[in-house]
């Protein structure tokens, strides 16, 4: 499905009040990262995170994200990237949000480096739901006010709330 902001998204009726992202992004997966200076370091960092919290081998996370990146950059522009990958034997999608201190080259369409990096891991058999997740992310990050709020905050709790409270 096309991923521009104008795409109407179908929300399951029962989670009407919540967006899809909030269900896969726990507070502990919101990271302020002062050390990472490259795409590779960010992928290593989230690899360790998912290994510790979800018992997914860090190398699996790392390889999956890099393999997807090789087919085309997940840089969105406006300082945002949404790296994603498929993971074998995973049941539900998981996510992490990393805000880096330094902006990182990501081959984004606008040529600008990024510092807002939303990592999405989905099961091997991706479904419509996962495409909807990507769609929602694209829509979220095309919201200028939302991006500015993320840039303005350096508190994981506040950033997490921004994701929870975001409405289309």
């Amino acid at each position: 499905m096309p991923l521009n902001a104008a795409t109407p998204l179908l929300y399951p009726a029962k989670v009407e009040s919540m967006n899809l992202i909030s269900s896969i992004l726990p507070l502990e997966n919101v990271i302020l990262d002062a050390d990472s200076t490259s795409k590779k370091r960010v992928f290593e960092r989230v690899g360790i995170l998912f290994e510790n919290t979800r018992h997914i081998a860090r190398s699996q996370v790392f390889d999956s994200l890099f393999a997807r990146e090789k087919l085309g950059s997940t840089g969105l522009g406006q300082g945002v990237a949404i790296p994603h990958g498929r993971i074998k034997n995973m049941r539900d999608a998981v996510a992490a949000f990393v805000k880096t201190e330094a902006s990182i080259p990501f081959d984004a369409p606008d040529g600008q480096p990024v510092n807002l990096i939303f990592v999405l891991l989905v099961p091997e058999r991706a479904t419509d739901l996962h495409l909807q997740l990507l769609g929602e992310l694209a829509q979220m990050f095309s919201d200028r006010t939302f991006r500015e709020q993320l840039q303005a905050s350096s508190d994981p709790v506040v950033i997490h709330q921004l994701f929870i409270n975001w409405k289309a």
């Binding site: 499905m1 096309p2 991923l3 200076t37 490259s38 795409k39 590779k40 370091r41 290593e44 790392f62 390889d63 890099f66 997807r68 090789k70 087919l71 085309g72 950059s73 997940t74 840089g75 969105l76 949404i82 994603h84 498929r86 080259p105 081959d107 040529g111 989905v122 991706a126 996962h130 495409l131 990507l134 769609g135 694209a138």
Partner: protein
């Protein structure tokens, strides 16, 4: 991308040159400060003097952030150790090593992730040998390059006065030979590229690049140039790494004579080469060439490591009647000077081999890269992924694709099937698409075109 190149020799420098751009951040490591200074003077990159197999050097060079390691020093051992260190200490995603010794290449298991962690190994000498073997197999061609595991070939030929196609439009080829499907990808006339159209009239001296299923190459060649006699006799000057490999791969199918200056080396060569006549002597000695009937030689290859000697002996051989002469030339300036004159083919080892490295380094799913015309043009095999939404090529007809001007889709390989790049051909996911690009400035655009959009899961 952050790319770390170990070794500033021929291969390292050429690859650095072709990768330097705004999008890439390149660091080159070598033990020679002088070689690095030459590079730094010409290009926007970082250099570091040091031993490439030392963790401290690698760290200083920024390996912890690197996306790709290219270990292309002169030493196989340094290259392998560097890959191993990159994997064990720094988790580098892609590690490529140049490996020359057949002793290592015969045991690919030593490159596995449990051992030396070399993701891809390249052997320039082998690539060159294969390249020259093709030129011997098709003596009328200037270049024969393969795609899709050999299913498709790109062939360059020179149109000559009185040849079957000269003075006729390209559409003639189609009407004349309806049963053989081929496409002319580009024509170079007096060093300048032309975009071929149906009404383009071929002139003598034109360099024509055409693409066809490999099985059809002979019949197309027959149309473009009346078929030259097949090769029978081959003479090779220089029994080094390349000369030896070439003789070994040819000696069962051709009559091969190999001239080597060093007596000791001759004895060793005679031991390895069972069907080759090994001669001790100087390839620039016209008496020796005459005694060995150079006039009857179909293809004469000068492959020593001395450019000047290679040029001189091919000039002599051509004058004395050798049908096709090939000179190996390391210095780039010489290649441009010599090619197309008396010497039929001037081979630059760096340019022949660089493509195999570029394929791994390029963004997107790039299966094969062949650098053409000394790096000015390129032919790529790209794999299309995604669907009509997430890709800019899948689900579209060729004439609906927003290709930059000067880039042509020559053919598509779907499974084992070769489809020519006609305008109404539809592209599917997982197709291997062969694109000819006449100006290297467009390569980035072509790559971008084949990259999937962010919505590709």
């Amino acid at each position: 991308m952050k790319i770390l190149i170990l070794g500033a020799g021929q291969v390292g420098s050429t690859v650095a040159e072709s990768l330097v751009s705004e999008a890439n951040d390149i660091t080159v490591v070598d033990t020679s400060a002088e070689k690095l200074r030459l590079l730094q003077d010409r290009f926007d990159l970082r250099t570091l003097v040091g031993n490439a197999s030392h963790p401290s050097t690698l760290e200083q060079a920024g390996i912890a952030d690197a996306d790709i390691l290219l270990a292309v020093t002169q030493s196989d051992e340094v290259n392998m150790v560097a890959c191993k260190l990159a994997a064990s200490l720094y988790n580098t995603p892609t590690k490529i090593a140049r490996i020359r010794a057949t002793g290592y290449l015969e045991h690919p298991e030593i490159f596995s992730p449990e051992n030396f962690c070399v993701d891809f190994s390249i052997c320039p000498e082998q690539i060159l040998t294969d390249y020259i073997r093709k030129l011997i197999e098709f003596p009328e061609a200037l270049q024969v390059l393969e795609f899709a595991n050999g299913l498709v070939s790109l062939v360059a030929v020179k149109a000559f006065e009185g040849g079957p196609l000269v003075g006729k439009p390209l559409s003639f080829l189609r009407s004349h030979m309806p049963q053989v499907d081929t496409r002319v990808a580009a024509i170079f006339r007096q060093e300048k590229p032309l975009i071929p159209e149906g009404d383009t009239v071929v002139e003598a001296g034109d360099e024509i690049f055409f693409i066809a299923a490999t099985g059809n190459i002979r019949s197309v060649l027959k149309e473009l140039r009346r078929m030259d006699k097949p090769t029978k006799r081959v003479m090779i000057i220089g029994g080094g790494n390349i000369g030896r490999r070439l003789a070994l791969s040819l000696e069962r199918n051709y009559q091969v004579k190999l001239v080597e200056y060093n007596k000791k080396a001759c004895e060793q060569l005679a031991g390895i080469l069972k069907h080759t006549l090994v001669l001790n002597g100087d390839g620039t000695d016209e008496n020796l060439l005459a005694t060995e009937h150079v006039a009857d030689v179909d293809v004469f290859c000068a492959l020593t490591n001395d450019d000047e000697n290679n040029i001189m002996s091919t000039l002599l051989a051509k004058r004395d009647g050798a049908r096709k002469v090939i000179a190996l030339i390391n210095r780039n300036a010489y290649v441009g000077l010599v090619q197309g004159g008396k010497i039929d083919i001037a081979l630059s080892p760096a340019h022949v081999t660089i493509g195999s490295l570029l394929a791994y380094v390029r963004q997107g799913d790039v299966a094969v890269v062949h650098s053409l015309r000394r790096g000015a043009a390129e032919a790529l095999e790209l794999v299309a992924h995604g669907d009509r939404q997430s890709s800019k090529v899948v689900g579209r007809r060729i004439d609906e694709i927003d290709l930059p001007k000067g880039a042509t889709i020559g053919a598509i390989v779907r499974g084992d099937e070769v489809l020519m790049g006609h305008r109404d051909q539809l592209i599917e996911s997982d197709d291997h698409v062969i694109v000819f690009v006449i100006n290297k400035k467009m390569i980035h655009k072509v790559e971008k075109l084949f990259q999937v959009g962010i919505g590709f899961l």
